[in-house]
Protein backbone atom coordinates (compact mmCIF):
# COMPACT_ATOMS: atom_id res chain seq x y z
CA UNK A 1 0.00 0.00 0.00
CA UNK A 2 1.90 3.08 -1.19
CA UNK A 3 1.78 5.89 1.29
CA UNK A 4 -0.92 8.52 1.13
CA UNK A 5 0.53 11.36 -0.96
CA UNK A 6 0.10 11.34 -4.78
CA UNK A 7 3.25 10.97 -6.92
CA UNK A 8 4.89 13.86 -8.81
CA UNK A 9 4.69 12.79 -12.46
CA UNK A 10 7.88 11.94 -14.38
CA UNK A 11 7.46 15.00 -16.59
CA UNK A 12 7.20 17.05 -13.36
CA UNK A 13 10.66 15.92 -12.29
CA UNK A 14 12.22 16.34 -15.74
CA UNK A 15 10.67 19.82 -16.14
CA UNK A 16 12.08 20.87 -12.77
CA UNK A 17 15.51 19.50 -13.71
CA UNK A 18 15.38 21.39 -17.00
CA UNK A 19 14.49 24.58 -15.18
CA UNK A 20 17.41 24.07 -12.78
CA UNK A 21 19.88 23.57 -15.65
CA UNK A 22 18.61 26.65 -17.46
CA UNK A 23 18.86 28.75 -14.31
CA UNK A 24 22.41 27.47 -13.72
CA UNK A 25 23.41 28.42 -17.25
CA UNK A 26 21.69 31.78 -16.76
CA UNK A 27 23.70 32.58 -13.63
CA UNK A 28 26.88 31.45 -15.45
CA UNK A 29 26.20 33.82 -18.32
CA UNK A 30 25.33 36.59 -15.89
CA UNK A 31 28.72 36.23 -14.27
CA UNK A 32 30.41 37.12 -17.55
CA UNK A 33 28.21 40.21 -17.92
CA UNK A 34 29.74 42.74 -15.57
CA UNK A 35 26.82 43.71 -13.30
CA UNK A 36 28.96 45.56 -10.80
CA UNK A 37 27.29 46.13 -7.46
CA UNK A 38 24.22 44.17 -8.51
CA UNK A 39 26.14 40.96 -9.30
CA UNK A 40 25.93 39.53 -5.77
CA UNK A 41 22.20 40.12 -5.05
CA UNK A 42 21.14 38.76 -8.44
CA UNK A 43 23.36 35.71 -8.11
CA UNK A 44 21.90 34.98 -4.69
CA UNK A 45 18.32 35.43 -5.92
CA UNK A 46 18.87 33.00 -8.80
CA UNK A 47 20.49 30.52 -6.43
CA UNK A 48 17.51 30.99 -4.08
CA UNK A 49 15.06 30.15 -6.86
CA UNK A 50 17.02 26.99 -7.68
CA UNK A 51 17.08 25.97 -4.02
CA UNK A 52 13.35 26.63 -3.74
CA UNK A 53 12.71 24.39 -6.77
CA UNK A 54 14.78 21.57 -5.29
CA UNK A 55 13.02 21.89 -1.92
CA UNK A 56 9.44 22.10 -3.23
CA UNK A 57 9.57 19.43 -5.94
CA UNK A 58 12.46 17.10 -5.30
CA UNK A 59 12.00 17.09 -1.50
CA UNK A 60 8.20 16.97 -1.78
CA UNK A 61 7.87 19.94 0.58
CA UNK A 62 4.77 20.96 -1.36
CA UNK A 63 2.79 17.91 -0.29
CA UNK A 64 4.10 17.66 3.26
CA UNK A 65 2.37 19.19 6.32
CA UNK A 66 3.02 22.88 6.98
CA UNK A 67 5.18 22.14 10.03
CA UNK A 68 8.02 21.06 7.72
CA UNK A 69 7.79 24.28 5.69
CA UNK A 70 7.74 26.27 8.94
CA UNK A 71 11.01 24.59 10.02
CA UNK A 72 12.64 25.29 6.65
CA UNK A 73 11.48 28.91 6.64
CA UNK A 74 12.67 29.64 10.19
CA UNK A 75 16.12 28.24 9.35
CA UNK A 76 16.27 30.44 6.23
CA UNK A 77 15.08 33.50 8.18
CA UNK A 78 17.80 33.04 10.79
CA UNK A 79 20.50 32.66 8.12
CA UNK A 80 19.41 35.92 6.50
CA UNK A 81 19.30 37.75 9.87
CA UNK A 82 22.72 36.36 10.87
CA UNK A 83 24.41 37.40 7.60
CA UNK A 84 22.59 40.74 7.52
CA UNK A 85 23.58 41.91 11.00
CA UNK A 86 27.20 40.70 10.73
CA UNK A 87 27.67 42.38 7.34
CA UNK A 88 25.93 45.51 8.67
CA UNK A 89 28.52 45.71 11.44
CA UNK A 90 31.53 45.44 9.14
CA UNK A 91 29.98 47.69 6.49
CA UNK A 92 29.16 50.60 8.80
CA UNK A 93 32.46 50.73 10.65
CA UNK A 94 34.38 54.05 10.32
CA UNK A 95 36.19 53.58 7.03
CA UNK A 96 39.73 53.91 8.30
CA UNK A 97 39.62 51.22 10.98
CA UNK A 98 41.22 49.05 8.35
CA UNK A 99 42.44 45.66 9.40
CA UNK A 100 46.19 45.29 8.99
CA UNK A 101 47.31 43.08 6.12
CA UNK A 102 50.29 40.80 6.19
CA UNK A 103 51.88 42.37 3.12
CA UNK A 104 54.88 40.82 1.44
CA UNK A 105 57.57 41.99 3.83
CA UNK A 106 55.88 41.13 7.09
CA UNK A 107 58.35 41.46 9.92
CA UNK A 108 58.13 39.22 12.95
Amino acid sequence: MPTDHRNVSLTGYLATFAALVVLALFSLVLSFVGLGAWAMPIALVVAGIKALLVALVFMHLVEQPSANSFVALSALALVVVFIGLVVADVDTRPSKSVSGGVGRDSRR
Binding site: A67, V71, S74, A75, L78, V81, F82, L85, V86, A88, D89, V90, D91, T92, R93, P94, S97, S99, G100, G101, V102, S106
Partner: protein, 541 residues
Protein backbone atom coordinates in the same frame (compact mmCIF):
# COMPACT_ATOMS: atom_id res chain seq x y z
CA UNK B 1 -6.13 7.81 49.20
CA UNK B 2 -3.22 6.04 47.51
CA UNK B 3 -4.59 3.68 44.91
CA UNK B 4 -2.25 0.83 44.04
CA UNK B 5 -1.57 0.95 40.27
CA UNK B 6 -2.41 -2.36 38.50
CA UNK B 7 0.77 -2.16 36.37
CA UNK B 8 4.26 -2.21 38.02
CA UNK B 9 6.19 1.13 37.93
CA UNK B 10 8.86 1.69 35.28
CA UNK B 11 11.52 1.18 37.95
CA UNK B 12 10.11 -2.16 39.01
CA UNK B 13 9.32 -3.40 35.50
CA UNK B 14 12.93 -4.25 34.58
CA UNK B 15 15.95 -4.21 36.90
CA UNK B 16 19.67 -4.78 36.55
CA UNK B 17 22.34 -2.76 34.69
CA UNK B 18 21.06 -3.73 31.20
CA UNK B 19 17.70 -2.17 32.08
CA UNK B 20 19.49 1.13 32.61
CA UNK B 21 22.36 1.05 30.08
CA UNK B 22 20.32 -0.15 27.08
CA UNK B 23 17.00 1.41 28.05
CA UNK B 24 14.83 3.25 25.50
CA UNK B 25 12.41 4.45 28.18
CA UNK B 26 12.43 8.27 28.24
CA UNK B 27 11.98 8.18 32.01
CA UNK B 28 15.18 6.23 32.67
CA UNK B 29 17.11 8.36 30.19
CA UNK B 30 15.73 11.44 31.93
CA UNK B 31 16.89 10.15 35.31
CA UNK B 32 20.35 9.30 33.96
CA UNK B 33 20.64 12.83 32.56
CA UNK B 34 19.54 14.23 35.95
CA UNK B 35 22.11 12.22 37.91
CA UNK B 36 24.88 13.21 35.44
CA UNK B 37 23.98 16.91 35.47
CA UNK B 38 23.80 17.02 39.29
CA UNK B 39 27.25 15.42 39.45
CA UNK B 40 28.62 18.08 37.06
CA UNK B 41 26.82 20.79 39.08
CA UNK B 42 28.87 19.81 42.12
CA UNK B 43 32.08 19.50 40.05
CA UNK B 44 31.59 23.01 38.63
CA UNK B 45 30.61 24.22 42.09
CA UNK B 46 33.85 22.84 43.53
CA UNK B 47 35.85 24.78 40.92
CA UNK B 48 33.86 27.91 41.87
CA UNK B 49 34.59 27.46 45.57
CA UNK B 50 38.33 27.15 44.81
CA UNK B 51 38.19 30.32 42.74
CA UNK B 52 36.39 32.26 45.46
CA UNK B 53 38.79 31.02 48.14
CA UNK B 54 41.72 32.19 46.03
CA UNK B 55 40.20 35.67 45.80
CA UNK B 56 40.06 36.24 49.54
CA UNK B 57 43.33 38.20 49.41
CA UNK B 58 44.56 40.35 46.54
CA UNK B 59 47.81 38.43 46.05
CA UNK B 60 48.44 34.68 45.72
CA UNK B 61 46.65 32.51 48.27
CA UNK B 62 46.30 28.93 47.12
CA UNK B 63 47.75 28.64 43.62
CA UNK B 64 49.28 30.79 40.87
CA UNK B 65 47.81 32.63 37.90
CA UNK B 66 48.04 29.75 35.39
CA UNK B 67 46.12 27.43 37.73
CA UNK B 68 43.54 30.14 38.44
CA UNK B 69 42.99 30.79 34.72
CA UNK B 70 42.52 27.10 34.02
CA UNK B 71 40.12 26.82 36.96
CA UNK B 72 37.82 29.67 35.95
CA UNK B 73 37.79 28.34 32.37
CA UNK B 74 36.80 24.83 33.47
CA UNK B 75 34.24 26.31 35.90
CA UNK B 76 32.66 28.09 32.93
CA UNK B 77 32.83 25.11 30.56
CA UNK B 78 31.52 22.53 33.07
CA UNK B 79 28.72 24.76 34.35
CA UNK B 80 27.52 26.03 30.95
CA UNK B 81 27.85 22.98 28.72
CA UNK B 82 27.61 20.11 31.19
CA UNK B 83 25.03 21.45 33.65
CA UNK B 84 23.01 24.51 32.61
CA UNK B 85 22.07 23.50 29.06
CA UNK B 86 21.13 19.80 29.55
CA UNK B 87 19.85 19.91 33.14
CA UNK B 88 16.16 20.84 32.83
CA UNK B 89 15.42 20.13 29.13
CA UNK B 90 17.22 16.77 28.88
CA UNK B 91 16.62 15.79 32.50
CA UNK B 92 13.06 16.81 33.49
CA UNK B 93 12.05 17.38 29.84
CA UNK B 94 12.86 13.77 28.96
CA UNK B 95 11.07 12.43 32.03
CA UNK B 96 7.96 14.57 32.16
CA UNK B 97 7.21 15.88 28.65
CA UNK B 98 5.94 12.63 27.08
CA UNK B 99 3.67 11.99 30.09
CA UNK B 100 2.38 15.58 29.96
CA UNK B 101 1.19 15.16 26.35
CA UNK B 102 -0.13 11.66 26.95
CA UNK B 103 2.47 9.93 24.78
CA UNK B 104 4.00 6.53 25.53
CA UNK B 105 7.56 7.73 24.71
CA UNK B 106 9.51 10.36 22.73
CA UNK B 107 9.43 10.20 18.90
CA UNK B 108 12.88 8.58 18.48
CA UNK B 109 13.73 6.53 21.62
CA UNK B 110 16.93 5.03 20.23
CA UNK B 111 18.15 8.51 19.22
CA UNK B 112 17.29 9.66 22.75
CA UNK B 113 19.62 7.04 24.28
CA UNK B 114 22.30 7.92 21.71
CA UNK B 115 21.97 11.56 22.81
CA UNK B 116 22.78 10.56 26.41
CA UNK B 117 25.84 8.54 25.44
CA UNK B 118 27.10 11.28 23.10
CA UNK B 119 26.70 13.69 26.02
CA UNK B 120 28.78 11.41 28.26
CA UNK B 121 31.49 10.99 25.61
CA UNK B 122 31.60 14.76 25.11
CA UNK B 123 31.83 15.27 28.86
CA UNK B 124 34.76 12.84 29.23
CA UNK B 125 36.63 14.36 26.26
CA UNK B 126 36.13 17.86 27.68
CA UNK B 127 37.19 16.84 31.18
CA UNK B 128 39.94 14.74 29.65
CA UNK B 129 41.64 17.95 28.58
CA UNK B 130 42.14 18.58 32.30
CA UNK B 131 44.65 15.73 32.28
CA UNK B 132 46.59 17.51 29.56
CA UNK B 133 46.77 20.61 31.75
CA UNK B 134 43.30 21.98 31.02
CA UNK B 135 42.60 25.11 28.98
CA UNK B 136 43.05 28.71 30.09
CA UNK B 137 41.20 30.75 27.45
CA UNK B 138 37.92 31.25 29.34
CA UNK B 139 34.75 29.41 28.21
CA UNK B 140 34.46 32.00 25.42
CA UNK B 141 37.69 30.91 23.60
CA UNK B 142 38.20 34.42 22.19
CA UNK B 143 40.76 34.44 19.38
CA UNK B 144 43.59 35.41 18.98
CA UNK B 145 44.42 34.21 22.52
CA UNK B 146 42.67 30.86 21.96
CA UNK B 147 44.80 30.26 18.87
CA UNK B 148 48.12 31.03 20.57
CA UNK B 149 47.49 29.64 24.04
CA UNK B 150 49.83 26.66 24.67
CA UNK B 151 47.09 24.85 26.64
CA UNK B 152 44.85 21.99 25.46
CA UNK B 153 42.36 24.13 23.46
CA UNK B 154 41.69 21.59 20.71
CA UNK B 155 40.56 18.64 22.93
CA UNK B 156 38.21 20.90 24.87
CA UNK B 157 36.78 22.28 21.63
CA UNK B 158 36.19 18.73 20.34
CA UNK B 159 34.55 17.74 23.63
CA UNK B 160 32.12 20.68 23.54
CA UNK B 161 31.41 19.98 19.85
CA UNK B 162 30.30 16.46 20.82
CA UNK B 163 28.11 17.79 23.64
CA UNK B 164 26.55 20.14 21.08
CA UNK B 165 25.57 17.16 18.92
CA UNK B 166 23.75 15.65 21.91
CA UNK B 167 21.94 18.96 22.44
CA UNK B 168 20.78 19.06 18.77
CA UNK B 169 19.51 15.47 18.94
CA UNK B 170 17.48 16.21 22.09
CA UNK B 171 16.03 19.28 20.38
CA UNK B 172 15.00 17.34 17.26
CA UNK B 173 13.45 14.64 19.44
CA UNK B 174 11.28 17.02 21.44
CA UNK B 175 10.09 19.09 18.46
CA UNK B 176 8.96 15.93 16.65
CA UNK B 177 7.36 14.50 19.81
CA UNK B 178 5.28 17.63 20.49
CA UNK B 179 4.16 17.87 16.87
CA UNK B 180 3.21 14.25 16.22
CA UNK B 181 2.62 12.39 19.50
CA UNK B 182 0.07 14.40 21.50
CA UNK B 183 -2.73 12.31 23.03
CA UNK B 184 -6.02 12.07 21.13
CA UNK B 185 -8.11 15.19 21.77
CA UNK B 186 -5.21 17.32 23.05
CA UNK B 187 -4.98 20.57 21.11
CA UNK B 188 -1.96 22.88 21.29
CA UNK B 189 -3.75 25.08 23.89
CA UNK B 190 -4.56 22.08 26.08
CA UNK B 191 -0.86 21.24 26.60
CA UNK B 192 0.84 22.15 29.92
CA UNK B 193 2.99 25.32 29.73
CA UNK B 194 6.15 23.34 30.54
CA UNK B 195 5.74 21.61 27.15
CA UNK B 196 5.60 25.00 25.41
CA UNK B 197 8.83 26.16 27.05
CA UNK B 198 10.66 22.88 26.25
CA UNK B 199 9.38 23.16 22.64
CA UNK B 200 10.73 26.72 22.38
CA UNK B 201 14.02 25.60 23.97
CA UNK B 202 14.33 22.78 21.43
CA UNK B 203 13.90 25.26 18.56
CA UNK B 204 16.85 27.26 19.91
CA UNK B 205 18.91 24.12 20.54
CA UNK B 206 18.41 22.94 16.96
CA UNK B 207 19.00 26.28 15.26
CA UNK B 208 21.78 27.79 17.42
CA UNK B 209 24.03 24.87 18.41
CA UNK B 210 25.35 24.23 14.87
CA UNK B 211 26.89 27.70 14.80
CA UNK B 212 28.77 26.84 17.99
CA UNK B 213 29.90 23.65 16.26
CA UNK B 214 31.31 25.65 13.36
CA UNK B 215 32.97 28.16 15.71
CA UNK B 216 34.68 25.36 17.64
CA UNK B 217 35.83 23.76 14.37
CA UNK B 218 37.38 27.07 13.36
CA UNK B 219 39.08 27.44 16.77
CA UNK B 220 40.40 23.87 16.49
CA UNK B 221 41.68 24.45 12.93
CA UNK B 222 43.34 27.71 13.99
CA UNK B 223 44.99 26.19 17.06
CA UNK B 224 46.19 22.94 15.49
CA UNK B 225 46.90 23.78 11.84
CA UNK B 226 47.24 27.56 12.05
CA UNK B 227 44.45 28.05 9.44
CA UNK B 228 42.72 30.95 11.17
CA UNK B 229 39.84 32.94 9.68
CA UNK B 230 40.13 35.45 12.52
CA UNK B 231 43.92 35.72 12.46
CA UNK B 232 44.89 39.39 12.05
CA UNK B 233 48.28 38.39 10.66
CA UNK B 234 46.52 37.16 7.51
CA UNK B 235 43.90 39.90 7.47
CA UNK B 236 41.25 38.28 9.66
CA UNK B 237 39.19 40.24 12.18
CA UNK B 238 38.86 38.84 15.74
CA UNK B 239 35.59 40.77 16.27
CA UNK B 240 33.97 38.47 13.69
CA UNK B 241 34.83 35.53 15.97
CA UNK B 242 32.83 37.24 18.69
CA UNK B 243 29.89 37.61 16.28
CA UNK B 244 29.93 33.90 15.53
CA UNK B 245 30.43 32.88 19.17
CA UNK B 246 27.68 35.09 20.60
CA UNK B 247 25.22 34.17 17.80
CA UNK B 248 25.14 30.80 19.60
CA UNK B 249 25.86 31.86 23.15
CA UNK B 250 23.09 34.43 23.58
CA UNK B 251 20.34 32.07 22.44
CA UNK B 252 22.14 29.55 24.71
CA UNK B 253 21.30 31.68 27.76
CA UNK B 254 17.65 31.38 26.64
CA UNK B 255 18.13 27.60 26.36
CA UNK B 256 19.12 27.83 30.03
CA UNK B 257 16.27 30.06 31.29
CA UNK B 258 13.25 28.95 29.19
CA UNK B 259 12.93 25.47 30.76
CA UNK B 260 13.24 27.10 34.21
CA UNK B 261 10.34 29.38 33.26
CA UNK B 262 8.35 26.29 32.22
CA UNK B 263 8.92 24.69 35.64
CA UNK B 264 7.87 27.92 37.40
CA UNK B 265 4.68 28.15 35.28
CA UNK B 266 3.74 24.60 36.35
CA UNK B 267 4.47 25.18 40.03
CA UNK B 268 2.66 28.53 40.26
CA UNK B 269 -0.53 27.09 38.70
CA UNK B 270 -0.48 23.98 40.89
CA UNK B 271 0.25 25.72 44.22
CA UNK B 272 -2.10 28.61 43.43
CA UNK B 273 -4.66 25.95 42.46
CA UNK B 274 -6.05 28.01 39.60
CA UNK B 275 -5.69 28.55 35.87
CA UNK B 276 -2.74 30.71 34.72
CA UNK B 277 -3.64 34.43 34.55
CA UNK B 278 -3.26 34.21 30.74
CA UNK B 279 -2.33 30.88 29.10
CA UNK B 280 -1.64 32.42 25.67
CA UNK B 281 0.62 35.12 27.16
CA UNK B 282 2.99 32.56 28.68
CA UNK B 283 2.84 30.11 25.78
CA UNK B 284 3.47 32.65 23.01
CA UNK B 285 6.09 34.59 25.01
CA UNK B 286 8.10 31.35 25.12
CA UNK B 287 8.11 31.29 21.30
CA UNK B 288 8.76 35.05 21.30
CA UNK B 289 11.87 34.59 23.43
CA UNK B 290 13.00 31.73 21.19
CA UNK B 291 12.89 33.79 17.98
CA UNK B 292 13.70 37.33 19.16
CA UNK B 293 16.47 35.80 21.28
CA UNK B 294 18.36 35.16 18.03
CA UNK B 295 18.50 38.86 17.16
CA UNK B 296 20.16 40.33 20.22
CA UNK B 297 23.66 38.83 20.41
CA UNK B 298 25.35 42.09 19.47
CA UNK B 299 25.09 43.59 22.97
CA UNK B 300 28.08 41.44 23.94
CA UNK B 301 30.19 43.44 21.48
CA UNK B 302 29.31 47.02 22.42
CA UNK B 303 32.91 47.80 23.47
CA UNK B 304 34.70 45.39 21.13
CA UNK B 305 35.05 47.89 18.30
CA UNK B 306 31.81 47.19 16.44
CA UNK B 307 30.19 49.96 14.45
CA UNK B 308 27.97 52.48 16.19
CA UNK B 309 24.92 51.94 13.96
CA UNK B 310 25.05 48.18 14.48
CA UNK B 311 25.32 48.75 18.23
CA UNK B 312 22.16 50.86 18.08
CA UNK B 313 20.30 48.11 16.15
CA UNK B 314 21.31 45.45 18.68
CA UNK B 315 20.47 47.81 21.53
CA UNK B 316 16.84 48.24 20.56
CA UNK B 317 16.41 44.51 19.72
CA UNK B 318 17.77 43.60 23.15
CA UNK B 319 15.12 45.77 24.77
CA UNK B 320 12.30 43.85 23.03
CA UNK B 321 13.44 40.41 24.16
CA UNK B 322 13.24 41.60 27.79
CA UNK B 323 9.55 42.37 27.27
CA UNK B 324 8.68 38.69 26.78
CA UNK B 325 10.31 37.78 30.10
CA UNK B 326 8.40 40.62 31.77
CA UNK B 327 5.12 39.25 30.33
CA UNK B 328 5.82 35.94 32.02
CA UNK B 329 6.66 37.52 35.37
CA UNK B 330 3.46 39.59 35.39
CA UNK B 331 1.39 36.52 34.44
CA UNK B 332 2.95 34.40 37.22
CA UNK B 333 2.28 37.08 39.80
CA UNK B 334 -1.24 37.52 38.39
CA UNK B 335 -1.84 33.78 38.84
CA UNK B 336 -1.45 34.18 42.62
CA UNK B 337 -4.40 36.64 42.60
CA UNK B 338 -7.68 35.16 43.88
CA UNK B 339 -6.06 31.75 44.19
CA UNK B 340 -6.08 29.25 47.13
CA UNK B 341 -2.40 28.92 47.80
CA UNK B 342 -0.92 25.99 49.72
CA UNK B 343 2.66 26.39 51.01
CA UNK B 344 5.30 23.86 49.87
CA UNK B 345 9.02 23.68 49.11
CA UNK B 346 8.49 24.26 45.36
CA UNK B 347 6.59 27.45 46.30
CA UNK B 348 9.55 28.49 48.51
CA UNK B 349 11.89 28.11 45.57
CA UNK B 350 9.33 29.94 43.41
CA UNK B 351 9.57 33.07 45.59
CA UNK B 352 13.37 32.88 45.47
CA UNK B 353 13.13 32.56 41.67
CA UNK B 354 10.67 35.45 41.33
CA UNK B 355 12.82 37.93 43.24
CA UNK B 356 16.22 36.81 41.88
CA UNK B 357 15.11 36.37 38.27
CA UNK B 358 13.39 39.75 38.16
CA UNK B 359 16.41 41.44 39.75
CA UNK B 360 18.82 39.57 37.44
CA UNK B 361 16.64 40.14 34.37
CA UNK B 362 16.26 43.85 34.97
CA UNK B 363 20.01 44.26 35.48
CA UNK B 364 20.26 42.50 32.12
CA UNK B 365 18.21 45.23 30.50
CA UNK B 366 20.41 47.74 32.33
CA UNK B 367 23.58 46.16 30.90
CA UNK B 368 21.99 46.15 27.44
CA UNK B 369 21.67 49.93 27.65
CA UNK B 370 24.60 50.95 25.49
CA UNK B 371 26.15 53.76 27.49
CA UNK B 372 25.86 51.83 30.77
CA UNK B 373 27.45 48.77 29.20
CA UNK B 374 30.64 50.75 28.53
CA UNK B 375 31.72 50.94 32.21
CA UNK B 376 30.06 47.62 33.14
CA UNK B 377 31.26 45.36 30.33
CA UNK B 378 33.60 42.54 31.46
CA UNK B 379 33.43 43.62 35.10
CA UNK B 380 31.91 41.77 38.07
CA UNK B 381 28.60 43.53 37.39
CA UNK B 382 28.14 41.26 34.35
CA UNK B 383 29.30 38.27 36.41
CA UNK B 384 26.67 39.08 39.04
CA UNK B 385 23.99 39.61 36.36
CA UNK B 386 24.39 36.24 34.68
CA UNK B 387 24.81 34.40 37.96
CA UNK B 388 21.54 35.96 39.19
CA UNK B 389 19.88 34.48 36.11
CA UNK B 390 21.75 31.16 35.95
CA UNK B 391 21.98 30.32 39.67
CA UNK B 392 19.18 32.52 41.01
CA UNK B 393 16.93 31.56 38.11
CA UNK B 394 17.76 28.22 36.49
CA UNK B 395 19.38 26.41 39.44
CA UNK B 396 16.61 27.54 41.80
CA UNK B 397 14.02 26.28 39.29
CA UNK B 398 16.09 23.08 38.93
CA UNK B 399 15.82 22.48 42.69
CA UNK B 400 12.12 23.45 42.58
CA UNK B 401 11.55 20.89 39.80
CA UNK B 402 13.39 18.22 41.83
CA UNK B 403 11.02 18.79 44.74
CA UNK B 404 7.90 19.25 42.54
CA UNK B 405 8.32 16.06 40.49
CA UNK B 406 10.09 14.05 43.19
CA UNK B 407 6.91 12.18 44.23
CA UNK B 408 6.09 11.45 40.56
CA UNK B 409 9.60 10.20 39.76
CA UNK B 410 10.34 8.10 42.85
CA UNK B 411 6.91 7.60 44.45
CA UNK B 412 8.20 9.06 47.74
CA UNK B 413 7.53 12.33 49.59
CA UNK B 414 10.30 14.54 51.05
CA UNK B 415 10.01 16.42 54.35
CA UNK B 416 8.43 19.85 53.70
CA UNK B 417 10.01 21.60 56.70
CA UNK B 418 13.55 20.53 55.79
CA UNK B 419 12.83 21.41 52.15
CA UNK B 420 11.71 24.95 53.00
CA UNK B 421 14.73 25.39 55.30
CA UNK B 422 17.19 24.39 52.56
CA UNK B 423 15.36 26.69 50.13
CA UNK B 424 15.91 29.59 52.52
CA UNK B 425 19.57 28.61 52.97
CA UNK B 426 20.13 28.41 49.21
CA UNK B 427 18.55 31.86 48.76
CA UNK B 428 20.58 33.37 51.60
CA UNK B 429 23.89 31.81 50.48
CA UNK B 430 23.26 32.88 46.91
CA UNK B 431 22.38 36.47 47.77
CA UNK B 432 25.41 36.88 50.02
CA UNK B 433 27.67 35.55 47.28
CA UNK B 434 26.47 37.53 44.31
CA UNK B 435 24.93 40.79 45.54
CA UNK B 436 28.37 42.11 46.61
CA UNK B 437 29.56 41.37 43.07
CA UNK B 438 27.15 43.99 41.72
CA UNK B 439 28.93 46.54 43.89
CA UNK B 440 32.34 45.16 42.85
CA UNK B 441 31.30 45.63 39.22
CA UNK B 442 30.21 49.19 39.86
CA UNK B 443 33.55 49.88 41.52
CA UNK B 444 35.26 48.68 38.35
CA UNK B 445 36.62 45.28 39.36
CA UNK B 446 37.30 43.45 36.05
CA UNK B 447 36.35 39.84 35.36
CA UNK B 448 38.77 36.91 35.43
CA UNK B 449 41.23 38.75 37.67
CA UNK B 450 43.57 36.49 39.64
CA UNK B 451 44.89 39.37 41.76
CA UNK B 452 43.08 42.68 42.15
CA UNK B 453 43.63 46.22 43.52
CA UNK B 454 43.40 46.29 47.31
CA UNK B 455 40.29 48.46 47.66
CA UNK B 456 38.07 45.58 46.41
CA UNK B 457 39.07 43.10 49.11
CA UNK B 458 36.21 43.67 51.59
CA UNK B 459 33.51 42.78 49.05
CA UNK B 460 35.51 39.77 47.85
CA UNK B 461 35.73 38.37 51.37
CA UNK B 462 31.95 38.80 51.77
CA UNK B 463 31.35 37.08 48.45
CA UNK B 464 33.65 34.19 49.35
CA UNK B 465 31.86 33.66 52.65
CA UNK B 466 28.58 33.57 50.74
CA UNK B 467 29.96 31.01 48.31
CA UNK B 468 30.79 28.61 51.17
CA UNK B 469 27.26 29.07 52.53
CA UNK B 470 25.78 28.42 49.06
CA UNK B 471 27.91 25.29 48.62
CA UNK B 472 26.75 23.97 51.99
CA UNK B 473 23.10 24.78 51.22
CA UNK B 474 23.32 22.91 47.89
CA UNK B 475 24.73 19.86 49.66
CA UNK B 476 21.88 20.01 52.21
CA UNK B 477 19.22 20.40 49.50
CA UNK B 478 20.32 17.34 47.52
CA UNK B 479 21.21 15.41 50.68
CA UNK B 480 17.67 15.87 51.93
CA UNK B 481 16.32 14.44 48.66
CA UNK B 482 18.57 11.38 48.91
CA UNK B 483 17.32 10.79 52.46
CA UNK B 484 13.71 11.15 51.28
CA UNK B 485 14.38 8.70 48.41
CA UNK B 486 15.57 6.10 50.90
CA UNK B 487 13.19 6.69 53.81
CA UNK B 488 10.41 9.04 52.58
CA UNK B 489 6.73 7.99 52.98
CA UNK B 490 4.99 6.64 49.86
CA UNK B 491 3.53 9.38 47.64
CA UNK B 492 0.03 9.32 46.11
CA UNK B 493 -0.47 9.72 42.33
CA UNK B 494 -1.44 13.40 42.74
CA UNK B 495 0.08 14.79 46.00
CA UNK B 496 -0.30 18.46 44.90
CA UNK B 497 -3.92 18.02 43.62
CA UNK B 498 -2.79 19.36 40.27
CA UNK B 499 -4.95 19.09 37.12
CA UNK B 500 -1.91 18.74 34.87
CA UNK B 501 -1.78 15.47 32.92
CA UNK B 502 1.43 14.02 34.35
CA UNK B 503 -0.46 13.61 37.65
CA UNK B 504 -3.23 11.46 36.13
CA UNK B 505 -0.96 8.41 36.06
CA UNK B 506 0.48 6.52 39.03
CA UNK B 507 3.70 7.63 40.79
CA UNK B 508 6.14 6.37 39.69
CA UNK B 509 4.41 5.87 36.32
CA UNK B 510 4.25 2.47 34.57
CA UNK B 511 6.69 1.65 31.83
CA UNK B 512 4.48 3.03 29.01
CA UNK B 513 3.21 5.90 31.18
CA UNK B 514 -0.44 4.91 30.91
CA UNK B 515 -2.39 1.68 31.19
CA UNK B 516 -4.39 2.17 27.95
CA UNK B 517 -4.46 4.86 25.22
CA UNK B 518 -4.72 8.25 26.93
CA UNK B 519 -7.73 10.31 25.81
CA UNK B 520 -8.12 13.98 26.79
CA UNK B 521 -11.22 16.18 26.65
CA UNK B 522 -9.99 19.15 28.73
CA UNK B 523 -7.11 21.63 29.10
CA UNK B 524 -4.19 21.17 31.53
CA UNK B 525 -5.36 23.92 33.90
CA UNK B 526 -9.12 23.32 34.19
CA UNK B 527 -9.37 24.03 37.91
CA UNK B 528 -13.01 24.95 37.32
CA UNK B 529 -13.69 21.19 37.22
CA UNK B 530 -13.73 19.06 40.34
CA UNK B 531 -10.95 16.52 40.62
CA UNK B 532 -13.37 13.68 39.77
CA UNK B 533 -14.66 15.45 36.63
CA UNK B 534 -11.09 16.31 35.60
CA UNK B 535 -9.98 12.70 36.03
CA UNK B 536 -13.01 11.52 34.08
CA UNK B 537 -12.04 13.76 31.17
CA UNK B 538 -8.40 12.64 31.04
CA UNK B 539 -8.17 8.89 31.57
CA UNK B 540 -6.17 6.02 30.24
CA UNK B 541 -8.76 3.27 31.06
Amino acid sequence: MIEVSPVPSFLAAKTGPRAWLLTRDHKRIGLMFLFATVAFLFLGGAFAMLLRTELVRPERDLFDATMYNRLFTMHGVVMVFLFMIPSIPAGFGNFVLPIMIGARDVAFPRLNLASFYIYLIGAFVTLGSLVGGGVDTGWTFYTPYSSTSPTAVAPTAIGIFIIGISSIITGINFITTVHTMRAKGMRWHDMPLFVWSIYATSIIQVLATPVLGLTLVLVGLDHVLGIGLFDPRVGGDPVLYQHLFWFYSHPAVYIMILPAMGVISEIVCTFAHRNPASYRAIAYSSLGIAFVGFLTWGHHLFVSGMSETDAAIFGVLSMFVAVFSAIKVFTWTGTLYRASIRLGTPLGYLFAFLFLFVFGGMTGVAVATQSLDVPWHDTYFVVAHFHFIMVGGTTTAFLAAWHYWFPKMFGRMYDERVGLLTAALVFGGFFMTFFPQFLLGNAGMPRRYYSYPDQYQALHVLSTGGSWALGLAMLLAFGQLVVAWRKGPRAPANPWHSRSFEWSTSSPPPEHNFVGPFVVRRGAYDYDLTQEEADARSTDR
